[in-house]
């Protein structure tokens, strides 16, 4: 199982801050496409994905147990 954290507008669009996915392995790219479809998340193409608090590339693979977060363009400071 993979836990995906959502923030900012994504959290509001999905109406939840956390999604549990019943998969063992998935690439970052596939995860983004899957989430976009199922939860109608906008602008996911502009978002980064963090695996265990590190920025990941589209080709990287997420494994069961990883802490995954979708990181839309940040606006702190």
């Amino acid at each position: 199982m993979i836990t995906v954290l959502l923030f900012a507008h994504l959290q509001e669009e999905a109406k939840t801050s956390q999604i549990e996915l019943e998969v063992d392995r998935i690439t970052v790219d596939a995860l983004k496409k899957d989430l976009a479809q199922r939860f109608h998340l906008s602008q996911l193409e502009h978002a980064m994905v963090a695996i265990n608090e590190e920025f990941a590339l589209n080709e990287d693979t997420i494994q069961s147990g990883d802490a995954v977060a979708i990181i839309p363009p940040v606006s702190g400071g």
Partner: protein, 157 residues
């Protein structure tokens, strides 16, 4: 303690507390950047802001910025506190303090830190105006990340 040099708080930031973390006998210069909530942005009146963070990763990224700064300006000492939650006009959102034996490095490292915060630290702000609200992201201030790690750009905020 090094661990407390980088904090995400839900309470008001005391600038002096952040400055104290970088004071030392070798320092001849301390620069601070205080990011405050501005009332007007491009003709639009802000009522208040709401900041959200992915806290553990945000702290981790602040420490990464510290590593980057130590590599470029080895004599500096850095502390950063960012506040999240609801902030009103003139409230302090972030304080960056850098001490250094010489002033040039203190200015440069400080400006580098705020630029990197706006690129890699997972914190988001939602603007609340009289006629609506929006999470700020690429549509207004930022551009999407290119593949891989975000790069330094010269942008205003």
């Amino acid at each position: 303690m090094a661990d407390q040099q980088f904090e995400i708080l839900e309470t008001p930031i005391e600038t002096d507390e952040v400055i104290k973390k970088v004071e030392r006998r070798e320092a001849g210069a301390i620069t601070t950047f205080i990011g405050t909530v501005r009332e007007w942005t491009k003709g639009k009146k802000t009522l208040y802001l709401e900041y959200q963070a992915y806290k553990p990763m945000a702290v981790k990224m602040l420490k990464q910025i510290d590593h980057e700064i130590q590599a470029q300006w080895p004599d500096t000492k850095l502390a950063i506190t960012h506040r999240i939650g609801r902030l009103d006009i003139s409230d302090i959102a972030v304080v960056i303090a850098v001490s250094s034996p010489h002033r040039k490095a203190a200015y440069q490292a400080n400006e580098y830190a705020i630029e990197r915060i706006k690129q890699i630290v997972p914190i988001w702000k939602k603007e609340h105006w009289e006629d609506g609200e929006t999470w700020i992201g690429d549509q207004l201030e930022n551009v999407p990340y290119p593949a891989g790690k975000p790069e330094i750009k010269d942008e205003e905020s």
